[in-house]
Amino acid sequence: MSVPILKQGDVLIASIQAALSDNDLVKLRDDLAAKVGRFRSRGVVIDVTALDVLDSFASRTLRGIAQTTRLRGAQTVIVGVQPEVAMAMVQLGLTLEGVDTALDLEEGLELLGVAIPQDRTL
């Protein structure tokens, strides 16, 4: 199952819809790397609102995505981590260190310096 990646100006938005297998995550990483390069994006927002579990592999992959995109000149923001998921992550020692986080898509775009249109639907 691949994750839809939307382009909004010079920012890419990846909205994860459901639980992802390890392969799906790796595919997302590769997709984003390719698209950041192709569109010369300066920002990436990954929305994990729908993920009910964020384990060590997912955490490693997200950090990997942030590193790769940074090498290509883009800033990555992870948004939508749910309270319960955040609790589980910190108990596992996963802090997504080095990766920017924001509460939701709107906050994430604001962090990247993107003007939010009046109509929030994207």
Partner: protein, 316 residues
């Protein structure tokens, strides 16, 4: 009228549990035979035995909850009668246990104390015992043995009732403790995107977990970007609690919120260092006021005192 699901979830009745309860009283085939032998006798005087139970309870203060509403009392009598019939039927599996628990549900709604219940139950068993002994006028020993077999079932009953009523009490206590914890760690939104969480009193793992839970949910509900967590009012902070805070701060960051910890005295900070707790991930400010100011600054607020200049020009 009664919630079937509720009664069997008061206590967990697995097949294993039911078998164990029967084993505890050493219920065997010989017992079942004897119970069958006295079945008719018990059934013949059902109302007498049910009466013995309720007549005992009627004058007792702690049992008045059972007699307050006619419908509740009627339901209790009906179920009691049915239960006595079931007691001599010979099948003591899940169906029997569930019925017993249904009666417990009534006692729960009537706030019947378990000690008072036992008093009434004793009267009931005595009443049954009298009639059973009468069935064996020339052979007291046989009468006693038959009664002993029937009594095994009464012991299963008592164990179930005590378990149900005690677990009910424990559930209430746990719920009350939760409510107290909840009330003692509120999160207050004092400005757009800014929350304060004043923490007062003692902290244990349970409370710490509830605190984190409450904080993270408050961040989401209020879309908070900064949280000022004030620990001035905390009696003691040990390394375990400090580690909880560190985790809470890390979890809040995953949700895009910054946490400023205020009220951590220099002494406490020092002792944390000595204990090897790494406080570097915590953003600490000496006092609450300082913390609030920093929070407001980071949100782009600047608080200015209104000067003596007139607020508005007088109308011309």
């Amino acid at each position: 009228m009664l919630d079937q699901k509720l009664s069997s979830s008061i206590i967990d009745l697995t097949e294993m549990d039911i078998a164990r309860r029967q084993a505890f009283v050493d219920l065997g085939a010989a017992d079942l035979t004897r119970i069958a032998a006295v079945k008719a006798t018990v059934l013949q005087h059902l109302d007498e035995h049910v009466g013995a139970f309720f007549d005992f309870l009627a004058p007792i203060e702690e049992a008045r909850g059972l007699f307050r509403t006619a419908s509740l009392l009627e339901e209790a009598r009906r179920l009691k009668r049915m239960h006595l019939m079931a007691m001599v039927q010979g099948g003591y599996g899940r169906g029997y246990m569930d019925e017993r628990l249904q009666l417990c549900e009534i006692y729960r709604r009537a706030f019947l104390d378990v000690r008072v219940f036992l008093g009434g139950y004793h009267c009931l068993v005595t009443s049954i015992g009298r009639r059973v002994m009468e069935q064996f006028p020339k052979d007291a020993k046989a009468g006693f043995e038959h009664l002993a077999s029937l009594k095994k079932i009464t012991y299963v009953d008592i164990a179930l009732v005590v378990d149900a009523m005690v677990s009910d009490r424990e559930t209430t206590i746990a719920r009350q403790q939760d409510a107290i914890r909840e009330l003692s760690t509120p999160t207050l939104q004092i400005r757009d995107r800014l929350l304060i969480m004043p923490i007062v009193g003692l902290m244990d793992s349970h409370r710490a977990k509830q605190l984190t839970d409450g904080l993270l949910n408050a961040i989401r509900a209020n879309r908070a970007k900064v949280v000022v967590m004030d620990v001035t009012g905390m009696a003691t902070i040990d390394s375990r609690v400090a580690n909880h805070f560190i985790q809470t701060v890390a979890a809040a960051r995953l949700m895009g919120a910054k946490v400023i910890v205020t009220g951590l005295s220099a002494d406490v900070a020092q002792s944390m260092v000595v204990l090897g707790v790494d406080l570097s991930s915590l953003n600490t400010v000496g006092d609450l006021q300082g913390g609030l100011e920093e929070a407001e600054r980071s949100l782009g607020y600047r608080v200015v005192r209104i000067q003596d200049a007139p607020l508005h020009a007088a109308a011309a």
